[in-house]
């Protein structure tokens, strides 16, 4: 220290250098502590910021989950089930064109119409994933020819358009001969696979809540008539193959 003093002037800013040297140790310690702070502690502050963001995120997610839970608890279970039954009746229970033919036969029978011909092309069932719907569904088409009284054709078409499952007529031509109307139609029904999603928590409250469009659809199809076909009815007419026991088929 004395050696250092010998290099310094006697006075600095009107004070003896020895007085200034008293501050050298505390200032040195402070600089070291500040350097430690800057080198090791400041990066921790950045980490803490990230941690706080994480905490914020978790707190928000918890809040949203609780809101969704409260909403789900407020739903009337019985009402939900009845809505589900109604809406499930609106689509085909399976992607089966023969089921669709059965449904058309049932509708026609109410108006004395009979399916005289139908054609189902294998592979016609189309997977559709459209931007507007943002989900995948299947269109099940069938071409049918139905014959019945001319007087009932309008009521029959009306019934087709107001039936459950919901059907859409893609093509239509009609010929009237005497009192009989022969109607050729391409009809489609729709099949939607069971809804599956692994991350139920990823759904937002808006995803869970019914919007006006959906409620309008529900109230609209509520007025439609359901033409359900049981599994037994689908299998009806499909006879089991029985192999012939004849040795010579010509005798």
């Amino acid at each position: 220290m004395n050696k250092l003093k010998s290099y310094l002037p006697d006075k600095l800013f009107g004070k003896d250098v020895a007085v200034w040297l008293v501050w050298s140790m505390p200032v040195g310690v402070m600089i070291i502590l500040m350097l430690i702070f800057a080198r090791w502690v400041v990066p921790q502050i950045i980490d803490i910021k990230g941690l706080f963001n994480q905490i914020d995120k978790v707190v928000n997610e918890t809040k949203v989950l609780n809101e969704k839970r409260v909403y789900l608890l407020s739903l009337d279970r019985a009402e939900l089930e009845s809505k589900l039954t109604l809406i499930e009746n609106g689509v085909l229970s399976e992607e089966n064109s023969y089921l669709l033919v059965k449904i058309i036969s049932k509708i026609g029978a109410d108006f004395e119409y009979q399916v005289s011909d139908f054609s189902v092309t294998l592979g016609d069932i189309k997977d559709v994933a459209k931007k507007s719907t943002k989900f995948e569904y299947q269109t099940v088409p069938v071409d049918v020819v139905i014959v019945g009284p001319k007087a009932n054709f309008l009521a029959m078409i009306n019934a087709v358009e107001k039936s459950l499952p919901v059907l859409s007529i893609d093509n239509y031509s009609m010929t009237i001969t005497g009192d009989l109307a022969t109607i050729k139609m391409s009809i489609s029904a729709y099949y939607l696979p069971e809804w599956t999603q692994n991350k139920l928590e990823a759904l937002s409250l808006t995803d869970l809540t019914s919007n006006n469009d959906e409620l309008t659809v529900l109230s609209k199809i509520d007025t439609y008539k359901y033409y359900g076909v049981t599994e037994g009815e689908i299998k009806q007419g499909v006879q089991k193959f029985v192999p012939s026991d004849r040795v010579d088929p010509f005798y």
Binding site: L51, E61, T62, L72, S168, Y172
Partner: protein, 178 residues
């Protein structure tokens, strides 16, 4: 006015002592602040808070997932309703079109064929069993083309064939809806 009568060496010593005491105080305060800051940061750095919030989240999640059947039901309803809404919006309502066609002509005029070519465009054949009925067809077509039917844009008569044996007119026309 105070008078300092200490010798200059003593004054110098007093100044040194004061400086030492002040520097010690400053260093102590600095150290206390530094230690407090570091301690706070170290406490915050530990993720106990995050862990606590994660536990709350897990509790909320398990409560939410207990309602998974409600979630699946509501989603099934939602997706089916979306699909049906789209179908109902986009499909052509034939019954409505037929009603319209039936209203264009009188009951004396009988529809023979009807084929939808495109949405809002169809070809139909009607039978007029008398000259009066035929005149009515002509009059109605002219009226419709003048805009009397709000739903129909225009009708183009493509052919009119008279069959002597049955004394009937078979009129084929193209109908364009609005």
């Amino acid at each position: 006015m105070s008078l300092n009568l200490l010798p200059s060496q003593a004054k110098f010593q007093v100044e040194i002592i004061k400086a030492k005491s002040l520097s010690r105080k400053v260093l102590t305060i600095f150290l206390i602040i530094w230690v407090i800051l570091v301690s706070v940061i170290l406490v915050l750095k530990r993720d106990w808070w995050l862990k606590k919030e994660k536990i709350k989240y897990e509790v909320a999640l398990s409560g939410y997932l207990q309602l998974s059947s409600e979630i699946i039901t509501s989603q099934s309803i939602k997706f089916r309703a979306k699909l049906l809404g789209k179908v109902l919006r986009e499909r052509f309502e034939y019954a409505q079109a037929f009603n319209m066609v039936e209203n264009i002509f009188d009951s004396k005029i009988e529809i023979r064929d009807f084929e939808l070519k495109e949405k809002k465009y169809f070809v139909m054949s009607v039978i007029a069993s008398s000259d009066d009925a035929m005149k009515q067809v002509e009059t109605r077509v002219a009226e419709v083309n003048m805009g009397t039917e709000p739903e129909v844009k225009n009708i183009v008569v493509k052919s009119a064939v008279y069959t002597k044996n049955t004394a009937q007119w078979l009129v084929t026309m193209e109908v364009y809806l609005k």
